[in-house]
Amino acid sequence: MNRAFAFTLGTLSAIGGFIDIGDLVADAQVGARFGLRLAWVSLFTVAGIMCFSEMAGRVALKTQRPALALARSRLGPRFGLFGLIGSLLVTALLVMAELAGVALAFQLATSVHYLLWVPVALALVLLVVWKLPFEVMERVYGLLGLAMLVFVVAVWQLDPDWSQLWSSATTPAPTGRETWATYLFFLVALVGAQMTPYEMFFFSSGAVDHRWRPKDIKVMRANVIVGFPLGGILAVAIQAVAFLVFFEAGVRVEHLSQTALPVAVALGKIGLVVAIVGIFAATFGATLETLFASSYDTAQYFGWSYGKVQPPARAARFTTVMLALLFAAAALALTTLDPITVTIVAVVCSASLLPFLFLPVLLVANDRELMGELANGRLSNAVGFATVTVSVIVAALAFPLLILTKGGTV
């Protein structure tokens, strides 16, 4: 494959991977309630996910295996299993929310209630999983996901008072009507929504699938440097438009459809159409990616053969795990559980699992016998260790804050 092309693809999947239902919901809620007072969190999450994606990419280049495949020998089978079960539970919740996001895109387009669209979304996912090669999937949804950039355009169209945005962004404290507990709770939620482990996972297995070798390290790094910051800018833009449209009026984001409303306000029908395409691509792509990522995790923990490179019957256990997760998530979505609540709970739980995913990658990338000249340098270790430390603190705070603030509803 041509290098420039490979670069574009990687960048697209980095942007596409960054934004999913978690960001749509968490960023919109945060924007409506705190303005840009939590926007600084994105600086940390972008730096952290860049650092670990680069690390995971390097491990993949050197060992031809996804980084987390080596986690079990570092954490031991018991901690490994704990992390695996945790991430399967979170995935079921997340996939449910992503399906609701896909259904929402249909609802916005047709005005038919999203619950009726859930089975359609499920059928579409099944069809794509079964029939489309992985690379095509990745490209199509990465490319369509660029439509999300309409949120950035909307910020300008809303003609904001830039000094007001800046002063909000430089005030790292809750607004008058919020408490520190909810501020910290949404901080945890943002970390969980923006540092989704499957981004790192996809980056490294993408490197394995594309048969990148140590000489491709520059392409890999260029992707990281361009892709993830763009994702971060998008996340802040979602916060900004929610701030500009909802904050003054004191509107809280309680329905999925509200996440797209600011774009409609700013750019009218055309903007809304683009936003719908973006939401569809982002949530549909994320459904596939989270599903695959957790089925891969399961297969790798037990050493099973895994899918998409092998036909389904050759990777029967992998396929079974994936189908079971998908159907569980769809069933969950149909119970009329509120997708907003589920998303927030899922991203907070996901934040609490981050140390289990980051630590082994950091350890493996430092193994000089395995990594040779591609072992971690000082920068990776400094940023990586700081990220792990913060993720441990975030993980420890996640559940107490979830209970204390009743999921941010207080």
Binding site: R74, L75, G76, L362, L363, D367, R368, E369, N376, F385
Partner: protein
Amino acid sequence: MRISELLDAPVVDPAERQIGVVRDLRVTPRPRFQVTGLTIGQPGWLDRAAHAWGFAEGRAAAPWPLRKLTQRAARRARFAPVALIGSWGPERVVVTAGFTSLQPLDESS
């Protein structure tokens, strides 16, 4: 006997005093995988981590805070060659020499 039964088993000296726990085994490369000796650490989670994370083995030296954290455990790690092992067993492993006469792990490879 399974390797998993041997890992974490207490190691005692001829006087039945515990001198550590089994953290790892060393073997000759394939095809025969003959055991050349045992890596001995001390009880405790930090010591366990020092061995699982590659610091005791000297495979990893960074990130710096983690190396510092596991440094003591890595220094205490010992290697007991197979000739010094009197009896094997999941209940306990008997080493026919005192702790002080065993060589530090980082000098054994």
